[in-house]
Subunit: 141 residues, 2 copies
Amino acid sequence: MAKMEREIRLDAAAARLKAAGLRPTRQRLELARLLFAAHDRHVTAESLAEEGARAGVKVSLATVYNTLHQFQAAGLLRQVVVDASRTYFDTNVGDHQHFFLENEGLLIDIPGEEISISGVPAAPLGMSVDRVDVVVRVRRQ
Amino acid sequence: MAKMEREIRLDAAAARLKAAGLRPTRQRLELARLLFAAHDRHVTAESLAEEGARAGVKVSLATVYNTLHQFQAAGLLRQVVVDASRTYFDTNVGDHQHFFLENEGLLIDIPGEEISISGVPAAPLGMSVDRVDVVVRVRRQ
DNA sequence: CAACGCGCTTAGAACAATTCTAATCTATGA
DNA sequence: TCATAGATTAGAATTGTTCTAAGCGCGTTG
């Protein structure tokens, strides 16, 4: 007998959490289900909380913040800093960069293979490169 | 008779403000003098206010914020977004990129000629590229 | 030179995003 | 089933930034 789409997603979410060593609580499962429904989503705590509310998921804002940070620590999400006023989390943790639409506060992925950066000088003494972020800021018109 | 270093800097600051169409008030002059003492400084509102306080300049925090934004609008400063929790302003408005030392929250310039980025896809329809920011995140060890 | 007006500065309040707190709940392993 | 470590929660607290409204001062005009 066929499983409902929602159940399949919850199973997948449970597997992800298990792999990350996070207890599969109701809230984490529901948030994971929302987050990983598509593989290149860009959310803020606020937007995810709102999305959850619309979907009838009962989760406090504090838990959304906690969960986003835990998922990030577990490598399921990546934080993207492009705007001084809000923090974005990206469900695509692979090698890629971003367009940032400054007018609408929207992020769009640029596949890692497309962009190439050369001539990055060596990191200062005693430091090692953690990541190279490229943000292409675009605006309407 | 030779002018004091401080006076020379204030004159230079006055010239900058005049060119930018900003009234040369005491606060703006003093902040400009501090900011443009070196040509590649990275400050936050907080750090600049503190620096001013140490230097005996009497300026409110609100004015520091106002001034930083006005200088930015006038093209004397550039805002750099690297850290979700604070906003940096850079006195170097030329073409360049940054190292960001994540441990100490410090920025170091990378000259624009050193780095080259290729393969940036065309901006989404109806959008134009405003700027391409590269942040090389490094950490100790 | 006096007076005016507009822009500037200010302290403190307000705000928004995020984190903390401490009480309550729940998944899990014995 | 029970105990417990860990998770969730509402609401308070914190932090960085912006707003507000009152007073000040720079440059101009009469």
